[in-house]
């Protein structure tokens, strides 16, 4: 190794030292030096870490407080952050934020409590409103006077509570009914509706006429109607004994009258809706309403249900839907009509209904139910007479139908009485252009009247004439066709009388 010193310009001292010895010192101190440097570095890191930890302690405390607040714990005060201005600002901002959050939480809790209370109150209101609807009519109809009357109705509110309403009240031989629709929906409408409902019940119990019922409801609603709500109402009464229906209308959709021949809208005198003017005089219309006929009432939620192109369902479609259910032979069953219309409307409208939907159908069965009691022949005769006036039969024809049915039914009562007491004899009469078909069904013991009795020799002298057997002889003699069958544990006797 060559070392040179240039202390003096003209003098050069050169010394030579072996490389090994020159670096020997360094070689000796290298390891301790490295250890010292390493240790120093570690100490430095520890120092720095300590300083950092110390300096960020307030920040950590704030961060911990933020986590606690995030977890919903507002009980601890925010930590002291010492003299650092920025941290103080942060702490103040957090404090204000915490207060705001606490305030909002309190508000949300209060609102949630309110919403829950309102929801539960609406639910109670809905149940009260449903409780105000009349109890379901017996599925097999109910005998009013001497006729079997069936009613079916449905109410589908657009919201929790409804502005629609239906009701029926039955007295001895009168059946009052109503369908109403308030100009609004939801709670305000339902409040007005309950007033209308109570007034109807009151008026029906006083056996007012439909016109008087409308005038009574109108007077009372107008007297306390600061928000000028109005209600469209259709109400009427079926006089079952006289087979007559009387209807009055206050601005409501026209009802559908359904007969064997199809269905048509009743053209009623249009009256102002309830609640518009207090001195309105309403008019009522009476028309025959007999066996095998029905009336359907509904609210505009049916006809105004819209498809995707906002085209309303309309009266025409409603009429054709109902018409398609009517056959000349078949029984008009209110339950089927209501379900079919309801299904057709929900299939038509793509969106959930925006208005309350109410459908009600009332029908008088084309049949009569008789007990196994010979006294029932009187009810049978009145049933035949009602059909006679309904279809305009001449006396001779009425007599023959009377005779055929009396013979058949008295025969069943005398010979086919069942063991079970709850079964009935069902008699139905269906008119045809060239004759009348009659069907007698009973749940008594199996008995074929067409085979049972021997034919009567009408040429025997009086001493030899048997007293019995005449009835069945007369049936066979009068009808143009007779069939007997036994199915579903029931005797079915079908008779056809040709018109002459």
């Amino acid at each position: 190794m060559l070392l040179t010193h240039r202390r003096k310009p003209n003098l050069i001292i050169a010394t030579t030292t072996p490389y090994q010895s020159a670096l020997a010192v360094i070689k000796h101190i290298k390891l301790p030096l490295l250890i010292i440097i390493g240790c120093g570095f570690i100490l430095l890191l520890i120092g720095i870490r300590f300083v950092i930890l110390y300096a960020t302690r307030p920040l950590n405390r704030i961060s911990e407080a933020a986590i606690r607040i995030g977890e919903g714990d507002f009980s601890n005060a925010l930590p002291d952050v010492g003299p650092y201005r920025d941290l103080r600002n942060l702490r103040d901002a957090m404090e204000s934020m915490t207060e705001s959050i606490q305030h909002y939480i309190a508000t949300i809790e209060q609102n949630t409590r309110n919403i829950t209370r309102i929801e539960s109150e609406l639910d109670i209101a809905r149940r009260i409103q449903q409780g105000m609807l009349p109890p379901p009519w017996p599925a097999n109809g109910h005998t009013i006077g001497d006729a079997n009357v069936s009613i079916n109705a449905m109410l589908q509110p657009a919201r929790e509570v409804s502005g629609d309403m239906y009701d029926y009240v039955c007295t001895e031989s009168l059946l009052y009914f109503i369908v109403a629709d308030v100009s609004d929906k939801g709670v305000p409408a339902s409040l007005v509706m309950s007033g209308v409902h109570s007034l109807f019940r009151f008026a029906a119990e006083q056996t007012m006429s439909p016109k008087e019922i409308l005038e009574c409801i109108n007077r009372h609603i107008c007297a306390s109607n600061p928000h000028n709500m109005f209600v469209t109402v259709i109400t009427g009464v079926i006089d079952v004994g006289r087979r007559q229906i009387t209807v009055a209308n206050a601005g409501h959709n026209p009802p559908l009258l359904i007969t064997r021949e199809g269905c048509r809208y009743l053209t009623l005198a249009p009256g102002l809706p309830i609640g518009v003017m207090d001195d309105v005089a309403y008019t009522q219309t009476s028309l025959p309403f007999g066996h095998g006929e029905a009336i359907m009432l509904y609210t505009d939620g049916v006809t105004e249900a819209e498809d995707s192109k906002h085209v309303p369902y309309g009266e025409e479609k409603l009429q054709s839907t109902v018409s398609s259910l009517v056959t000349h032979e078949g029984e008009i069953i209110p339950q089927h009509i209501v379900r079919a219309v309801s299904d057709a409307v929900s299939a038509y409208s793509v969106t959930p209904p925006h208005d309350d939907i109410t459908i009600m159908c009332i029908g008088i069965a084309s049949y009569i139910l008789l007990d196994y009691d010979i006294k029932e022949i009187e009810r049978l005769a009145s049933f035949v007479n009602h059909n006679a006036s309904q279809y305009g039969w001449e006396h001779e024809l009425t007599q023959r139908i009377n005779l055929i049915l009396e013979e058949a039914v008295s025969n069943i009562i005398n010979h086919s009485r069942p063991e079970a007491a709850h079964t009935h004899i069902t008699v139905s009469i269906i008119p045809h252009p060239d004759g009348i078909s009659m069907e007698i069904t009973d749940g008594g013991i199996q008995f074929n009247p067409l085979e049972s009795a021997p034919d009567v020799d009408i040429n025997l002298p009086v001493e030899k004439r048997p007293v019995g057997g005449l009835g069945l002889y007369m049936i066979r003699h009068m009808v143009s066709s007779a069939t007997y069958g036994y199915s579903d544990s029931k005797n079915h006797l079908r008779l056809y009388l040709k018109r002459t």
């Binding site: 010979i374 006294k375 022949i377 009187e378 005769a381 006396h395 001779e396 007599q399 009377n402 005779l403 009396e406 013979e407 008295s410 009562i413 009567v456 009408i458 040429n459 025997l460 002298p461 009086v462 001493e463 004439r465 007293v467 019995g468 005449l470 009835g471 002889y473 007369m474 003699h477 009068m478």
Partner: protein, 101 residues
């Protein structure tokens, strides 16, 4: 149905008002029982002017009455049958066994 029975010069005149059917025929039988009792005699006239309707039960009442009368040697006449009731008598052959005027 109501029945009135009057006796004039030994002739029992029975008038029927209303329906003679399965319900009313037993009442009719009871009411006319006295007319057919063994100790009564004389002819019997049944006036059907106001009889609206008759079924086999009513016909049975008539035939019972007729059999009783014949056995006692009395005559029985039916008066003023309406066309529709007459047709029932024709159908059942009763026209030939009853004396109808």
């Amino acid at each position: 149905m109501t029945t009135t029975i009057e006796n004039h010069d030994g002739i029992a005149n029975i008038s029927i008002h209303g329906r003679l059917d399965s319900v009313t025929a037993p009442q009719f039988d009871q009411q006319v029982a006295s007319v057919c009792s063994p100790d009564s005699h004389g002819d019997i006239i049944i006036d059907c002017t106001d009889m609206e309707y008759i079924s086999s039960a009513g016909l049975r009442s008539f035939i019972t009455l007729l059999k009783g009368a014949k056995a006692a040697g009395r005559s029985l006449e039916l008066h003023n049958l309406s066309a529709s009731i007459r047709s029932i008598f024709d159908m059942t052959g009763f026209s030939s066994i009853f004396n109808i005027r």
